[in-house]
């Protein structure tokens, strides 16, 4: 497993070396195509001056806030809509109409309501990240084993406890899958909103550097962004594995039994 990953990273390093070579050999000569070593220098300088903390800190803060709001709302509403066929039928057309809207399209109208600061960005991030979590939670609640629900009924478990103690845990693998999709979406939308409106964060930074023709700083920010996105996903996968130990155990049992 570790060996496989190292081999995978070898390709990343190889591609970066090719990039370096393309500049050093003189094949590509352009202000907008700096060598990897130059970008890394910009990256290190940024760390030394503490600039990345500011650039990424504000972005990650908005992203985390938007994502958490989305997760909270998505899971709660998903539980209710998954458990009640009637509410599901009533709410779904409205939700579908909102879901298909590309999130950048709702930025201009929301600027009227929320201005261009954090409130706007967090709202847009939350809306975009909300739907995968919602839809997955609904699917997860519906996928609960009917035998589990009958067991809860024969023990006269109250409705609310069935929802939280049986249907929510049953939905958890789906919830995690939805959250992982939404985490990626949240990062994308964070950067996009910062590019459209605002004066802070990594999206704003990348655009500014491009306007200022400072390609090294621009690429440095992009590389860092990619690294952060990768790490977030890995962290989330680790959390998911810990929380869903029972689901994996169940799969193993099914495979052996």
């Amino acid at each position: 497993m570790v060996g496989m990953q190292l081999r995978g990273f070898a390709l990343v390093i190889g591609l970066l070396l090719l990039w370096e070579l393309s500049v050093r050999s003189g094949v590509v000569r352009s202000e907008s195509w700096p060598a990897v070593s130059t970008i890394l220098q910009a990256l290190v300088t940024g760390f030394k001056l503490g600039g990345w903390g500011e650039v990424f800190g504000s972005s990650l803060y908005r992203m985390a806030l938007g994502f958490l709001l989305a997760a909270l709302a998505g899971v709660m509403l998903g539980l209710v809509l998954g458990a009640s066929a009637l509410l599901h039928r009533i709410a779904m057309p409205t939700l579908e109409i909102f879901r298909v809207l590309p999130s950048p399209a709702i930025v201009p109208p929301l600027i009227f309501l929320l201005g261009v600061d954090d409130a706007l960005k967090v709202t847009v991030i939350a809306i975009a990240a909300f739907f995968p979590i919602l839809l997955n939670t609904i699917a997860g609640v519906k996928a609960a084993d009917p035998v589990h629900l009958l067991v809860a009924r024969t023990f006269r478990v109250p409705r609310r406890r069935i929802l939280l103690g049986v249907q929510l845990p049953s939905a958890l693998p789906y919830v995690f899958a939805g959250c992982r999709i939404s985490l990626g979406i949240a990062l994308i939308v964070t950067v996009v909103t910062e590019m459209i409106a605002g004066s802070a964060g990594v999206g704003y930074y990348i655009v500014s550097m491009q306007y200022a023709m400072r390609a090294s700083e621009m690429y440095a920010a992009i590389i860092l962004l990619s690294a952060i996105g990768y790490l977030l996903n890995r962290l989330f996968l680790a959390l998911e594995r810990r929380s869903l130990r029972w689901a994996h155990g169940l799969e193993r049992q099914a495979a052996h039994g």
Binding site: R153, T154, F155, L172, G249, Q253
Partner: protein, 257 residues
Amino acid sequence: MAELLEIERVGKTFGAPAEAIVAIRSVDLSVAKGEFVSIVGPSGCGKSTLLQIVAGLVPASAGEVRLEGQAVTAPPTGVVYLFQQYSRSLLPWLSVEKNVRFGFSHARSLSPREAEERCVHYLDMVGLADFRRRYPWELSGGMQQRVAIARALAAEPRMLLLDEPFSSVDALTRLELHGLILELWHKTGLTILLVTHDVEEAVYLSDRIALLTRRPAQVAEVFANALPRPRKPVESREDPRFLELRHELLTRLLQPA
């Protein structure tokens, strides 16, 4: 003897009136307090449906089920249904102990200490006290069904409804579970209604056996079981009274429609 359970002209039809399938024509049966009664019938005759009607999990289309004179319309207190599929009836995200606790914790307000003591008590009865921190999917099929039995008993019901609970474990484990259930029945003074297609199981365990016809089901005959107690796994099965009843039941079951 006082009748605990009365099943009176219970019928069940599925589907729209025009193309309705009659699963149960009309079943009459009563079970006295402390009695062990089995319902035997060919596969697909509707005996599990009948048991679910008794459990209040499925509404009857006709007739009435009464528990101590009260009509059953929803799962009544003190009646627990034990499912055939142990691997689906235990909640995989809960430890063995928490699964047992799931059956009673909402019913009475017990201190955490009392709740734990009760779990250990009933897990001890089925010989699994040492496994209480394990997860269901870490246990063998027979052990899982014993956890399900402990969970049912921990709810301290008056009546246990068993839906072919021994049919998906291996033959030796089945004999062990037979012994266990008889021992627990003897100790707790429970009333047990068992549904099975295994004639030997029914004869070995019960006081009376109701033979159902093919679908649409009705009671063909109720047999009193003269096999003396305590029942012994080897000797009882060689007893002429065991063989005679088994012969009668099997012959009737195998009769062409």
